[in-house]
């Protein structure tokens, strides 16, 4: 396995980053989760680049692994995520991700 990381000044107006700290549903499972996270500070305009990556997985091995982490909507104040599977059987216990927004 491999981890990567990115660091930036906390008050840089051109970059915002954060984590979607979704709940762990164990022993239950989830199929879809759509949280919204606000930036620490409002950006000057809507970011043109939005990077995303998974940071936490807790998946039942009894079914195929089908997971996707998307950022379908964002503006200068917040970003919305969609954590989902596309098969009823492939639910997850835990699934989290990070984002990096750049002007």
């Amino acid at each position: 396995m491999e981890a990567q990381w990115l660091a930036h000044e906390p008050d840089d107006p051109s970059i915002q980053s954060g984590t979607f700290d979704n709940p762990n549903y164990y022993p239950n499972k989830a199929k879809e989760y759509k949280p919204r996270v606000s930036y620490n500070t409002t950006m000057r305009k809507k970011p043109t680049a939005m990077f995303r990556a998974i940071s936490y997985l807790d998946i039942d091995r009894s079914h195929n692994i089908r997971l996707e982490y998307q950022l379908p909507n964002w503006n200068e104040q917040w970003v919305e995520a969609k954590f989902a599977t596309w098969a009823e059987e492939s639910k997850w216990y835990g699934f989290r991700g990070v984002f990096v927004a750049v002007l």
Partner: protein
């Protein structure tokens, strides 16, 4: 810079930024003063302070299925994407979609190679051995060479273990102190994420990555599975 300016008299200097050449249709008569075309050092420094250079970033998503000629299955070759981009520094690749069967271990990775500064790179992603990979997607972010806004890095799980060589103990979680190349002015924001997985298929897939003890000089990375995961 401003302290050394001498007011209107200075602005009338032919060497001043206010005396630059401009199109004739923007002028009003012969009395208007027109100066040289050279911006003096003081004015240049003032401009640089008022208008810092803006940098561009490159952010894109690549998938196995969108690579030319790639098809899913067991033991498939890697998918290659030749990316043209002027931003080739601080390249990071983050996993964002998995479609994988249970035939073999859960293996997936993405890395960049053939990086040509300010020109492009090749993104390589996929699985190996007996893993059944239907598809996977990664988000890739990169910056201009001169862009000092971020610092990035990667940490393979195998590099974090201590002691003897061989597979790390099942369920082992590791921590490692990572030092920044240069200190940040303030305690930075740090995000950590998965770029590769290699996990046994007889236990649940559990991976957690997070930073803590963040200060201006570095942070501690916590990385690994839990609950008896290999």
């Amino acid at each position: 810079m401003i302290e050394s300016a001498k007011g209107c008299e200075q602005l009338q200097s032919a060497q001043s930024i206010m005396g630059y050449d401009r199109p004739a249709n923007l002028s009003y008569g012969d009395d208007e003063r027109r100066g040289g075309i050279v911006i003096d050092d003081e004015a240049r420094k003032l401009l640089e302070a008022l208008y810092p250079k803006s940098y561009s970033v490159s952010c894109r998503e690549v998938s196995c299925s969108s690579a030319p000629g790639w098809t899913g299955g067991i033991g498939r070759p890697y998918a290659y994407h030749n990316i043209e981009a002027k931003q080739t520094a601080n390249l990071i690749t983050g996993l964002c979609r998995i479609d994988m069967g249970l035939n073999g271990w859960f293996r997936l990775k993405c890395y960049t190679q053939n990086v040509l500064s300010r020109s492009g790179y090749t993104a390589v992603l996929g699985s190996w051995d007996d893993t059944h990979l239907f598809d996977a997607s990664y988000s890739i972010l990169s910056f201009d060479e001169e862009d000092q806004r971020v610092q990035t890095g990667r940490m393979p799980y195998m590099d974090m273990r201590t002691g003897n060589s061989g597979l790390p103990p099942a369920g082992a979680r590791y921590t490692k102190r990572i030092n920044f190349t240069r200190p940040f002015k303030k305690v930075p924001k740090v995000v950590t994420f998965i770029s590769a997985i290699d996990s046994a298929n007889w236990v649940n897939l559990r991976v957690e990555i997070y930073p803590y003890d963040i200060d201006r000089n570095g942070f501690t990375l916590s990385f690994g599975p839990w609950g008896g995961q290999s």
